[in-house]
């Protein structure tokens, strides 16, 4: 199974790998959601949606449906140091 | 008719004319009041002209 932002737990970080769809809104990219950038899940709203993220220093909220389209690589605890 | 009554009629007509223009012909009203058509109804600058 592919890992996406929607699979992160609160407080976890990861690196954006790519998108599983072509129709990722350009606005999201412009706000810094680009492959290679780090993403941290800051908060999950009640009822598990939407998600509050810190992507590369930008603080955004996206819906779970969008988050499922953004693939990630987990950062291993040891590597991050 | 005394002068007061005549003035009353003028004021009432002015008020009536204003309302008619405001709701039926907002553009004409803007022209009369010398505005640049920006404050017609429904404009974003309108914050309460119900």
């Amino acid at each position: 199974m592919k890992l996406t932002i929607a699979h992160l737990k609160k407080g976890q970080s990861a690196v954006i790998k790519g998108f599983s769809t072509d129709v990722i809104p350009i606005k999201l990219l412009e706000l810094g959601c680009l492959p290679g950038n780090q993403v941290e899940l800051l908060q999950i709203a009640p009822f598990k949606d939407p998600l509050y993220l810190n992507i590369n220093g930008s603080f955004l909220t996206i819906r779970r449906a969008t988050a499922l389209e953004i693939e990630i690589d987990m950062i291993k605890e040891n590597d991050s140091l | 008719m005394d002068i007061q009554t005549i003035l009353v009629y003028i004021i009432v007509l002015l008020a009536f004319g204003y309302l008619v223009l405001k709701y039926a012909f907002p553009k004409a009203l803007a022209a009369i009041l010398g505005k640049k058509g920006s404050s017609s109804c429904g404009g974003n600058d309108c914050n309460g002209c119900h």
Binding site: E30, I62 | A15, L19, Y23, D45, C46, G48, C49, H50
Partner: protein, 699 residues
């Protein structure tokens, strides 16, 4: 040299653009509209040195030149059209020191259009707390620009910015990105076809789904040949462009922008922990709303009582001092109470806008969007619908326009349709006076009962909006897809100047916009109430005197009888009696009926109308509230404004669509009469039925 420089302020949302605009122009600004569309256009004048003036346009906030909304289209339409009279000589791009990387994306795009651009790095006062240090010289060199570091909070850097604007001719116009590197073959062909055009401009014309009304039509048509690439290919190239821009920005910032992470970590995390918490978040939201309504009710009651009695004594003074005659009557009974009906609402409206401005400025509004999105979606709305629904408490018109940033058409349409249920400022005066009359002024659980009732009315409006949204979501068959991205701005203490300007502007536009209508209606009503068509009106005195029971009355009682007989036979009395059969089941008498009819022009006219009708009918001058309290139903001998009638009226005003301007704006935003007519029929019908049920149960 007395040339005027055209300056455009451009920047991402939440970068403090408005603060800079206010700092440059002060109160020397004008808010209007772009022709044909209802996007706010803010312009102002700023005096520079050596007698030069700058004409400053505050463009809508945008993240990039790839427009996705009507507001953003404005920005690129202006920047691509050199013939526009507002085409900027210089662009001032505002960035926020904490989000510099993202803000620079837009900056590089503007540079690539070869428009002279100054970079403003705003909110410099936060640098130290966030551990940020800047190498301005390095940044200026790499970005080919001049930089002004500003703190509107500390009031530093504005003079430097003015100086840079004055000398805008010295700005370099090098581009940041060579867009042709994305696809040399494609862009090479494009440049060959249009050797005289800026390549990035051509690219924007091709990729943007904007109706370039004012732009060179020929250019648009000619470039259409280059749209042959499939939409997804163009999209991919836009993605590559964005990646390229970020690569450039990262390289630039490496040498000039350092964040010491150890000293960072601000208030955001700790505030968010509470304000977006799944329990505390809602508790705080509810408490804030409660505070607002208690404040509007409690605090503003003092100036309101004062204004009310002031106008009553002013009326009395006028009728005693001026020479007797009809004009004096008009002034004392029509104009002065009419003016009072406007001025009395200033305190509440100012308070309401004060709170809305603070919520927006502080960054709290986005947290509410985050908290509410999932819940709202169950009702077919979006988290972003919360902003229209909250600003609907001021006025449905700006609220309907605020739905524009909802990307999904169905969610947007539903929001537009239900927003008028939200209790707007125009309903407030009606609620206040009826609550004051029928709800006892007692404490309940430590809260003022009247304040609680007012809060309940707001909750009712909000719930009705939400549940009709739910019903519409089931009924409507509208297809649309969308995405949802909301920025969560930093928390900020609202700038006093911004808040004050908002409150002053909004209050002023209420007084001079709605005020004129209220006054005109008061005058006409007075006239209709003091004139009548038949002999029964003109001979009122002799008819009443001839009645057998009149012989036993005192002089005062007789005068009152004559007055009410006259009123009943005036134009307005005749009209009121004509509609009585329709409104009697709701518990209203014909006087309330008249107020109801005039309310269709504007709800807040209700109070002024009753004030005028009652003041014509009575001998001495009194406050509006006292007059209404004294009205007695001749059949039952009970006060007209009892609990049943009061609740029935509250419900009618809560649900009925009584606002011509809202109908007009809904027509505009939905492109046709279909939706506003549904709204009018459904809302007013619903209002009638609920008011009917309430009165019949309570009486």
């Amino acid at each position: 040299m007395s040339k005027q420089i055209n300056v455009a302020l451009i920047g991402n949302p939440n970068t403090g653009k408005t603060s800079i605009f206010n700092a440059l122009t002060g109160l020397n600004q004008r808010v209007g509209n772009y022709p044909g569309i209802t996007v706010e256009k803010k312009e102002g004048l700023c005096k520079l040195s050596r007698g030069i003036k700058a004409h400053i346009i505050d463009l809508p906030g945008t993240y990039s030149l790839n427009a996705t909304s009507l507001d953003e289209n404005i920005v690129i339409e202006l920047l691509l059209n050199k013939n526009d009279k507002n085409y900027p000589d210089v662009a001032v791009v505002i960035s926020d020191v904490e989000n510099l990387k993202r803000n620079l994306l837009l900056f590089t795009q503007i540079k690539d259009l070869k428009i002279p651009a100054i970079l403003v790095i705003n909110m410099a006062d936060r640098m130290k707390r966030k551990g940020i240090s800047l190498d301005i010289e390095h940044l200026e060199k790499e970005l080919h620009t001049k930089i002004a570091v500003i703190s509107t909070r500390k009031n530093t850097g504005i003079d430097e910015l003015k100086e840079l604007i004055t000398n805008y001719r010295e700005l370099p116009t090098e581009q940041c990105i060579d867009i042709s590197t994305i696809d040399p073959e494609y862009f090479g062909g494009l440049q060959n076809a249009f050797p005289n055009q800026n390549l990035y401009k051509l690219w924007l014309v091709i990729t943007q789904d904007v109706n370039f009304v004012n732009l060179d039509r020929k250019l648009v048509d000619d470039t259409s040949a280059f749209s042959t690439k499939s939409e997804s290919e163009l999209k991919k190239m836009q993605h590559q462009e964005t990646v390229k821009r970020y690569q450039f920005i990262n390289k630039v910032l490496q040498g000039g922008y350092i964040i010491d992470a150890t000293s960072a970590k601000g208030l955001r995390a700790s505030f968010d922990r509470i304000l977006t918490h799944k329990v505390w978040g809602y508790v705080v939201f509810f408490l804030i709303m409660l505070l607002i309504f208690q404040a509007i009710y409690e605090w503003s009651s003092y100036p309101m009582d004062y204004i009310d009695s002031l106008f009553a004594s002013f009326s009395e003074w006028a009728s005693n001092t001026l020479p007797p005659g009809t004009l004096t009557d008009l002034i004392a009974e029509g104009i002065i109470p009419g003016l009072g009906g406007i001025v009395i609402f200033i305190p509440q409206i100012a308070f309401l806008f004060l709170f809305i401005a603070i919520l927006e400025e502080s960054g709290y509004m986005s947290r509410v969007v985050f908290l509410m999105d999932k819940i709202m979606r169950k009702f077919g709305l979006s988290g972003k619908s919360v902003i229209p629904l909250i600003s609907g408490t001021a006025c449905a018109i700006p609220a309907v326009m605020a739905t524009r940033n909802i990307d999904n058409w169905k969610e947007r349409l539903i929001t537009i349709l239900v927003t008028p249920f939200v209790t707007c400022a125009a309903r407030l005066p009606v609620y206040l006076i009826i609550i004051a009359l029928v709800i006892p002024d007692e404490e309940f659980l430590g809260m003022n009962l009247q304040g609680l009732t007012l809060m309940a009315m707001y909750v009712l409006g909000f719930l009705t909006a939400v549940f009709s949204a739910w019903a519409l979501n089931k009924v409507l068959r509208v297809k649309s897809r969308s995405f949802f991205v909301v920025e969560m701005p930093n928390y900020k203490v609202p700038l006093l100047k911004n808040v004050v300007i908002t409150v002053v502007e909004k209050t002023k536009s209420f007084v001079f916009g709605a005020g004129k209508i209220i006054l005109a209606i008061s005058i006409i009503l007075w006239f209709l109430a003091t004139n009548g068509p038949r002999d029964t009106f003109h001979n009122a005195e002799s008819i009443v005197n001839a009645q057998p029971e009149s012989q036993t009355l005192t002089e005062d009682e007789l005068a009152t009888n004559i007055n009410s007989y006259k009123l009943r036979n005036s134009y307005i009395g005749i009209a009121g009696h004509a509609i009585e059969p329709v409104i009697t089941p709701l518990g209203y008498d014909w006087k309330i009926g008249i107020a109801l009819i005039s309310s269709f022009a504007a709800r807040e006219v209700f109070v002024g109308t009753l004030a005028t009708i009652y003041s014509v009918g009575s001998e001495e001058e009194d406050t509006i509230k006292n007059r209404m309290a004294q009205e007695i139903n001749p059949e039952t001998g009970q006060p007209v404004f009892n609990l049943a009638t009061g609740i029935s009226l509250l419900l009618f005003y809560a649900f009925a669509m009584q606002c011509m301007s809202t109908i007009a704006i809904v027509k505009r935003e939905t492109n046709g009469w279909k939706w506003p007519i549904y709204q009018l029929v459904f809302m007013t019908g619903f209002a009638y039925i609920t008011a009917l049920i309430a009165y019949q149960l309570l009486k």
